[in-house]
């Protein structure tokens, strides 16, 4: 998967768990929590969906690495290649 694909994976997941958010204007380097109405419960859902849809595991200690769209892509891309 390319980094673009991984980014799309994350956006698709967020679109499903927070259907009321406008994702067309997401800034890559600003924390997702700040731009969107996401709380810790929603981050759990991102992690659970990554596992369910793509068999990608994110241990609890690594949740902070999902803070921005850019950090998601950086952290997750190697996991998709594995």
């Amino acid at each position: 998967m390319t980094t673009q694909d991984v980014k799309q994976v994350v956006i698709d997941i967020i679109a499903d768990i927070a259907p009321d958010e406008d994702l067309s204007v997401i800034k890559e380097d600003v924390s997702l929590r700040e731009q969107l109405d996401l709380d810790s419960m929603d981050f759990l859902d991102i992690v659970m969906e990554l596992r369910k849809r793509h068999r990608v595991e994110v241990p609890a200690d690594d949740y902070p690495r999902l803070a921005t769209l850019a950090s998601c892509v950086e952290y997750l891309t190697p996991k998709f290649i594995q």
Binding site: D37, L44, M48, K52
Partner: protein
Amino acid sequence: MYDAVIVGAGMSGLAAGIRLAMFDKKVCIFEKHSIPGGLNSYYRRRREPLEERKFDVGLHAMTNFIRKGEKGKPFSKLLKQLRLDYDSFQLEEQSHSKIQFPDAILKFSNDFELLKSEVARFFPDDYQNFLHLVETIVQFNELDLNATYQSTKELLSQRIKNPQLVEMIMCPLLIYGSAWENDMDFSQFVIMFKSIFLEGFARPRGGVRTILELLTKKFLEVGGEIKYRTPVEKIIVENKKIKGVQTPNGFVESKQVFSSMGLPETYERVSEGVRLPMAPAGPLSFTETILFYDKKVPLEQFDSTIVFYNNASQYRYQRPSSLYDNTSAVFCAPDNYHPNQRDGEGVLRITYMANYNLWKSLEREVYLQKKQEVLADSIKLVNTLIPDFDGNVTFSDVFSPTTIERYTWHKAGAVYGSTEKSRAGKTPIENLFIIGTDQGFVGIVGSILSGISISNLYGLMGES
């Protein structure tokens, strides 16, 4: 072998089930009753000549009202976590409700400004104090599971001069969610204040069945199983670890058990001689009268949705020393949710605090007679609150603390559960968790959120 067994298909059990099954856990809910809902279920009554009505057990009001698209609130979290659509609840808003004491009436609605202006009008000397209190409440982190107990009555009495105002503010919050008599923990108070005064009341058009249909449908869609008429008789534990549950159909193996039946009810069923903490049955139970009329109350005569009525100088939120306490009541006019239709039958509901032990001790014949007294008092209250109403009662039902116990298996018919809670949802037994009422979150929205958060914490995050 299940990943999780859930005891009870009430609000919290269904919510926990959805969360776990959504992420591919193998989940089964065991429910003793033949239908879902628990403390907020529904039933039918037939009377001669072949008259039948359907009743919601509870559901005066769903708290935590938000408008579509509003974010960051408990109800919006619930929708997101369960992947439910706002519109599917078909919410209808209250007109307004009121707290009616002998010397003052305070109205409130889904617009907090109304309550503010009422306090300013009737308690001008305390208005600034009230605003400061609201500020404290808004800033407070009520979800901190490490918070220590703080008496609301003490705290409010320090900040508000007129004790009448303290009582009036506390009245709806106590009767809509306190397992403790006359006082409550301040964090519980904050939760209730936000959910009732800052957010507000609404009701799904189809009553509680709308909510239950949404939850059960979603649970089955994501792959969960429900077994009705199947009580969990024992919770099987070995070396302080969960093995599974015993039902009339045999042993069911499970890695985790989430119980919504209550703390004493759960501990009582644990198989092994583990030393478990004491958890008493709660003191508070109710009678509920549901009246059907041949017409609706005209809005010119009565346009409130709920009245928190108290006819004494003090509000006594406690187990009464008589069968029931008719000095206070919750009075609900479900027809006054908007948009209200004015034709057809009218419905009114009246709740009194009641003493379980006294109801339990009655012989069948006296029991029926006492229910008639509750009915007569309820009708009297209708005439007090709506003096000009000339509708005729066409159908009625009264249920008592023993009815609540019989259909929900909560000891002593304790509507808000034990006075002992498991705030963190844990028990001394590995992989046995408490959800709903005795995790400490009550009401429809509260118990659903309890099921969500405890299953997230231990069912989804707890794993590697």
